[in-house]
């Protein structure tokens, strides 16, 4: 198939998946809508859908709709952790490693960064950097466990990483209870981070007036660029991708398959951990997570939507953050529970991952291309024949 048709197919397929998800959402909203008549329910649904689709960046009121910078800033802020977990999952899934440890990884990174931010005074700037690197490195090292067990003993990295998520969570909870809690507070939380460690807000920029949006978004964008180059412009990313496509081919070509598989998971761990640190230092005054945050699972959705390609991660993360914000808006203004996002996300995920979804359409494009190619070949051979005469 031609490249252009590939792209057209991907767009049509993605759009269909999103349409189906939105239809499901609409149906659910309609069923739950207040109102006695069909028409009434319909108008409530329409109102809610408007909030979902334009609410994330516009304020809707009687006089019309108006751009709202703060909301857009919230959407960007929500992208920070999922860009990191999304990148983390991309690198591991691209090597065909179903490591689901980004969930525990982001929590571990956040916790380690928090500890460094509280107990290791350093100059401003350097402090944040050390915190984030510490979070990333420790998480990367922890990912050695599933990676090495997979390579050396063929233990399922999926089960192993799922177990690690829980071990990480409980150990952090234990450490919080025993060693690091600020006993003066009612809720279990650490002492506040030192000011030198905090990631400043991006509030100087005139339209981004959200207090939640930190410089973390800039770091996230840098991470995307670095990972994009890493995966598509470096020998390591190249090897990761080739191993993911055909491991026997990679081995025969002379690649160090075991090493690269381990590498992909260390990098995946590092990204999740660093993302945790950035989220923590940019958004919270102290560490108070008492459960796994769910960003790892969203990261998997991001990676699936992005087709494991880092360059598409911001787009996918933006899309999901936008939908999330839309659901929040619906909850506020249209009284639709915000957790609708989970169902919409799940449906989109399923249709994106379904290999044969619209396969007939794809087949028709392939056939069309093949026919054109044959016609072109015939034409050129006739031409060649004439020239020979």
């Amino acid at each position: 198939m031609t490249r252009k048709r590939e792209i057209i197919f991907s767009i049509v397929r993605g759009a269909m998946a999103i349409m189906i998800a939105l239809l499901v959402a609409m149906l659910l909203i309609f069923i739950s809508a207040d109102g006695d008549s069909f028409g009434e329910k319909l108008s409530v649904t329409a109102e809610a859908m408007k909030q979902l689709l334009v609410g994330p960046i516009f304020r809707i009121n009687a006089t019309g709709i108006k751009f709202e910078g703060k909301r857009l800033a919230d959407v960007f802020a929500a992208m920070i952790p999922t860009i990191f977990t999304g990148l983390s999952v991309c690198v591991m899934f691209a090597a065909n490693q179903f490591n689901l440890g980004s969930e525990g990884g982001i929590m571990l990174g956040a916790f380690i960064s928090a500890i460094v931010a509280i107990y290791m005074p350093l100059p401003r700037g350097l402090h944040a950097l050390v915190c984030i690197l510490a979070g990333g490195l420790v998480t990367g090292l922890v990912m050695l466990i599933p990676a090495i067990l997979k390579v050396k003993l063929n233990v399922s990295e999926m089960v192993c990483s799922l177990m690690l998520n829980y071990i990480i969570m409980y150990i952090i909870k234990y450490l919080m209870n025993t060693s690091y809690a600020d006993k003066s507070k009612g809720q279990i939380q650490t002492y506040p981070f030192l000011n030198s460690s905090k990631l400043p807000a991006l509030s100087q920029a005139p339209i981004f007036t959200s207090s939640k949006l930190s410089w973390g978004i800039v770091i996230a964008v840098i991470a995307v660029v670095v990972m994009g180059f890493f995966m598509y412009r470096s020998r390591w990313g190249y090897q990761i991708r080739m191993i993911g496509i055909n491991q026997d081919f990679a081995k025969y070509s002379g690649m160090k398959v075991g090493f690269v598989i381990v590498l992909s998971q260390i990098i995946g761990g590092f990204l999740a951990g660093a993302g945790g640190g950035i989220e923590m230092l940019g958004r919270y005054p102290s560490f108070s997570w008492s459960a796994l945050p769910g960003y790892g699972w969203t990261g998997i959705t991001v990676a699936i939507l992005a087709g494991n390609n880092p360059w598409f991660v911001p787009l996918a993360a933006f899309f999901l953050a936008y939908l999330g914000k839309g659901c929040d808006m619906m909850a506020t203004y249209a009284n639709v529970p915000t957790q609708l996002i989970a169902i919409v996300q799940g449906v989109i995920f399923l249709f994106f991952a379904a290999e044969s979804f619209l396969s007939r359409y794809r087949q028709s494009l392939v056939v069309k291309t093949a026919k054109e190619e044959i016609a072109a070949k015939m034409a050129s051979s006739e031409e060649g024949g004439k020239k020979d005469e």
Binding site: K152, L153, Y166, K173, V336
Partner: protein
């Protein structure tokens, strides 16, 4: 420490092991059967969440735990068949289907709970614990004669109907797998689907049956969670039991008896965690133990397997 020991040696502690193990055992049996059929269902967590929610709601509306239980089971089976449709017909990676179901299972159930209660009760509720009363929960059963035996009676008698059923189902599953033609077909499909297909066994049908069975078990487990373990459904109440089951399946060597023992081990660790907090220790210290044991035992299995493969060939 002696305080902890006396707490542990009480009948109440052993009673709680069985109670905690039951839902894990259901999910483990689900994991075992799909694994025998040659794939993995990591969506058990989400399936149980849906079953738990709808089970508790149905039992409240009908005022009958039987209706609730059946609803939970039906929801589990139908959703698992939908998973099968995506995996087998639309060729979605089964692991991704599982992840999608889990995504929906955690937030989506809360959404559904809110909109359904909003319609029926007039206000959106974040859990069904306010609706489900002990009268519409799955009944506990005290066993005559046995209940009077000191210690043992206290441990064995008085459990929920579904706790007993879990262990019974475990035996039945084992019989199904090893004594019936369905079980034979499941194992054949999982091991060599070409061989099964070559003698006229429908591989697709068997796969649907296996994933449907996992939905059935998730239904049992979900019903137990919201109608016996707790009174009513609340968010994320399954709390990783669907994942633990995957570990219990692997740790138990993929067999029912092993799976049951692994489930009991997880139950033991959680019960221990509860006792830890009872005596002022931190339960978070006991809770990760089963997960760590899983990783270690998987590593040991892997080591043994690799070394066995390396053994020199016997001369002809």
């Amino acid at each position: 420490m002696s305080n902890l020991l006396s707490n542990i040696l009480s009948p109440g502690f052993f009673f709680s092991i069985f109670r905690i193990s039951a839902p894990i055992l259901y999910a483990t049996l689900a994991a075992i059967v799909v694994e025998k059929a040659g794939f993995a269902n990591i969506g058990l967590e989400g399936l149980m969440m849906f079953s738990a929610l709808f089970g508790s709601l149905a039992s409240y509306y009908a005022g009958s735990w039987v209706v609730g239980f059946l609803t939970a089971v039906i929801v589990g089976v139908v959703m698992s068949l939908v998973m099968g449709f995506f995996a087998f017909q639309l060729q979605t990676d089964i692991i991704l289907v599982g992840i999608a179901i889990n995504l929906m299972g955690s937030g989506g159930t809360l959404f559904l709970c809110k909109i359904i209660t909003d319609i029926t009760e007039g206000k959106a509720m974040a859990s069904t614990t306010g609706l489900v009363t002990s009268g519409i929960c799955i009944p506990n059963i005290s066993i005559p004669l046995i209940k009077d035996i000191p210690f043992i009676g206290e441990v064995i008698s008085g459990h929920s109907l579904l706790t007993y059923l879990a262990f019974l189902v475990c035996i039945l599953t084992s019989i199904m797998l090893y004594r019936t033609s369905l079980g034979l077909n499941i194992r054949a499909v999982g091991e060599n689907s070409n061989a099964a297909a070559s003698v006229g066994v429908s591989v697709l049908k068997i796969k649907y049956i296996a994933i449907g069975f996992s939905g059935l078990m998730s239904g049992f487990g979900g019903a137990f969670m919201s109608m016996s373990y707790a009174q009513g459904w609340s968010q994320d109440m399954v709390a990783g039991r669907g994942f633990i089951a995957l570990a219990a399946q692997a740790m138990g060597g993929g067999e029912c008896l092993g799976g049951m023992l692994s489930s009991l081990l997880f139950g033991f660790a959680q019960a221990l965690g509860i006792k830890f907090s009872a005596v002022g220790l931190d339960s978070n210290l006991a809770s990760p133990i089963p997960y760590a044991i899983t990783i270690i035992s998987l590593a040991i299995f892997g080591f043994v397997r690799i070394n066995r493969a390396k053994k020199p060939k016997v001369a002809a």
